[in-house]
Symmetry: C2
Subunit: 157 residues, 2 copies
DNA sequence: CACAACTTAGTTGTGCACAACTAGATGACA
DNA sequence: TGTCATCTAGTTGTGCACAACTAAGTTGTG
């Protein structure tokens, strides 16, 4: 797993690369979310944080980071913007002054109703049947795990 | 195609969403490229531009933008950095002073040799058999097209 | 207890992605 | 021919992603 298959051709053609397809698809989906989220005044990463909080309120920055694979360098300013927008509160925990607990405001909780109209649009836009959608999700998860494992074991040759 | 399937549940659970899987996979792949490209002193988007130029040298900014779906707001500073690194030259075309032609330097052409060692690593890291890889690429392309079409026809409801 | 190691958020700096805009060149056509 | 629309690249400003670092709190160990 740590040694590349040098028997493969390894084409440098742009269109041959799954990675470019992945990159393009990801940007296309983000662009769709940009349009869908515009009435909610959220960016896609902000929406992801809200999803995590709607699923479970009162999470530490660290927990949100683990859920989304984002570090404090990304989350800290993003959470400040969400707080400024009145959707969350950030408060130091008294039992451990290092950690900050993120809590939804009433407004933040209420936004969920509007957000519920979004997934159907995304589902329709992706134009995949249920079976393929499930398979894709599985492949994406495996791909992420596999690629991360490879990267972590990679040493410049 | 322009109307969402409201019969679907539209779960707001983070892990249910293919989009999040896509976003995660794309970031994982980019992180792998970051490690692989570090010896070449290229970022992933810079590498994509180089791929496009290795495939066909002497392209206008506009053509590169079409190939990668990037606008001049992204490309202009990126190309300046590639020029500063000595990999490309940017020159106004004499027959149409609006457009800028991007040309590989000798150094830029030579870098291709080093770059050829990268795709095998990526292929190994993705851990997909040839058939599945081809299928994924096809699904990604369809997904991108479908999502972009939906977005372009979308009007805030 | 002292203090070193570790943990949690936050800050700074770089580069990408994109919207909105500008400058200058070109083309269309009344 | 004038001038108006269009085209091409670039600029500015915002936000994300990440590396590298800092500050402050907590834990472990002699």
């Amino acid at each position: 797993m740590t040694s590349p298959d040098t028997g493969e051709t390894g084409s440098l053609l742009l269109d041959d690369q799954l990675c470019f397809g992945l990159y393009s698809a990801s940007r296309a989906v983000t662009a769709l979310y940009r349009a869908l989220l515009e009435p909610l005044d959220l960016t896609y990463p902000q929406y992801l944080v809200m999803l995590a909080l709607w699923q479970q309120d009162e999470q530490q920055v660290k927990e949100l980071g683990a859920a989304l694979s984002l570090d404090s360098g990304t989350l800290s300013p993003l959470l400040k913007r969400l707080e400024k927008a009145g959707l969350i509160k950030r408060e130091r925990q008294s039992d451990d002054e290092r950690s900050v607990r993120i809590r939804l405001t009433e407004e933040g909780t209420a936004l969920r109703t509007k957000a519920e109209r979004i997934p159907p649009h995304v589902g329709a836009a992706m134009n995949l049947d249920k079976a393929e959608l499930g398979r894709m999700r599985a492949v994406m998860d495996e791909l992420t795990a596999s690629v991360n494992a490879y990267r972590e074991s990679y040493r410049p040759s």
